[in-house]
Symmetry: C2
Subunit: 262 residues, 2 copies
């Protein structure tokens, strides 16, 4: 599983303040801690505190790529913020994210091609959040078709079924899990699949347990990547064990330690 | 998920000694502790220490049904031991288990009909343990066909794909998981599905984590029942959370406690 660390996000108090004060050390520490715990890439999101996200995203990119060459996910609903980050990025980049709306696809797919980035595509549109597996597949097909026609490599597209919180959308959870599997057969070559994990436990009292149970199931449904909190050790242990069972990590008695030493 | 508690088994030292000494209190305690922790039924296995399993299984049945009316699984590879247990059982019974071999089916399917029990069918035969999903399905179909022709209700049949330890059969794990799902579509009405969970972690160093990760995935593949250690609280928590995500437990903030109070 390709793990994108979610913690460099201005909605968290310490990160929000670091962005405001331009305190590099907080951001650097957060980047390195996530990588040490297993993050393959780092998400960068200026959050709601940022008054100048077009500037702040560049500061985040420059701060983080000074300490790691891991891929960076530029996380904003505003294409201009993403484009601004791309202008200064040297590491590999992930655009997080486009929706299935034409006005987003028209800007972000060409940008992803131009900067040779990966692209996360949310199966959501201005009409709202899909309520059924069929709606998710329809939006996924829209994104895949646009990318295909635009010459963007489908292997670099990460489709997100949009996880809803289990406490408000319990009846949709199996649909969401099955969508992950079905996205893989939309086209050949297959798109990749992705989830924003923490949303599943939003507003619940046992967040870590719900998160790790969902990701374990999602792994069985052929999930390729997720944005999550890599500092949650129980979550990473569950994920490594899921991959062990799915024959994607080699077994040895100390496979958990072996993963962390890699 | 229908949980069969695995702990009343003569291979465990305390249970083996209790069977030898006919010490009812150890058995009673073990029965009640498992039920309190979430077991829907209890497995009874005399184990290798029993010199007279035909007698000992009757003693186990009588001891346990004096303290609970939960279903009891008569667990032996010897049909005569199972038949002996059936002669004294008052609670609902589960035969654990038949293989796909004709000489077993010929005895156990009529017994299951006569005593109106559930029947666990292992997808294994005297030719050995299946190595592929296709072999598992073929053996499952043999058992289903025999039960159908014999007038045994398929809804009362629990098919077991035979879980192998992850440290020796890592490449077969996805096949085993997918078999669970595919067993459900062998016939209409569907047979039920079942696993002996602990085998997956046999010989590994982090047994509980591997057990609960596997059962979480198996739940997503529509597993109906499992024999497991209900005293493993982390395992039961994972199972309840899996069922929450699959919309089989109603969400409330304290859903773990609510399950335990039921």
């Amino acid at each position: 599983m390709f793990i994108i660390g979610e913690l460099i996000n201005g909605m968290y108090k310490d990160i929000g303040e670091a962005i405001k004060k331009k305190d590099k050390s907080i951001i650097e520490k957060c980047a390195l801690a996530q990588i040490k715990s297993g993050a393959d890439a780092l998400d960068l999101n200026c959050g709601p505190v940022s008054k100048e996200p077009i500037y702040d995203i560049q500061w985040l990119v420059e701060t983080v790529q000074a300490v790691t060459d891991k891929p960076l996910a530029l996380d904003s609903s505003k294409p201009k913020v993403i484009e601004s980050g791309l202008k200064v990025i040297k590491n590999k980049a992930i655009i997080n994210s486009t929706t299935a709306d034409l006005e987003k696809l028209e800007i972000l797919v060409p940008l992803a091609k131009q900067y040779q980035t990966k692209l996360i595509g949310l199966t959501i549109s201005s009409k709202g959040i899909p309520q059924t597996k069929e709606q998710r597949l329809e939006l996924a097909a829209t994104i895949v078709a646009y990318c295909s026609e635009g010459g963007f490599a489908i292997e670099d597209l990460y489709l997100d079924p949009i996880i809803l919180p289990v406490n408000v959308a319990q009846a949709q959870m199996r649909d969401i899990l099955e969508s992950i599997h079905e996205f893989k057969i939309i086209s050949d070559p297959s798109p990749k699949t992705f989830v924003g994990l923490s949303n599943v436990s939003q507003g619940t009292k046992v967040r870590s347990l719900i998160n790790r149970t969902f990701i374990t199931m999602a792994a069985a449904f052929r999930l390729d990547a997720a944005i999550l909190d890599p500092l949650d050790r129980d979550l990473i242990d569950a994920l490594i064990t899921a991959e062990l069972i799915l024959n994607k990590q080699i077994y040895c008695d100390s496979y958990l330690e072996a993963y962390r030493r890699k």
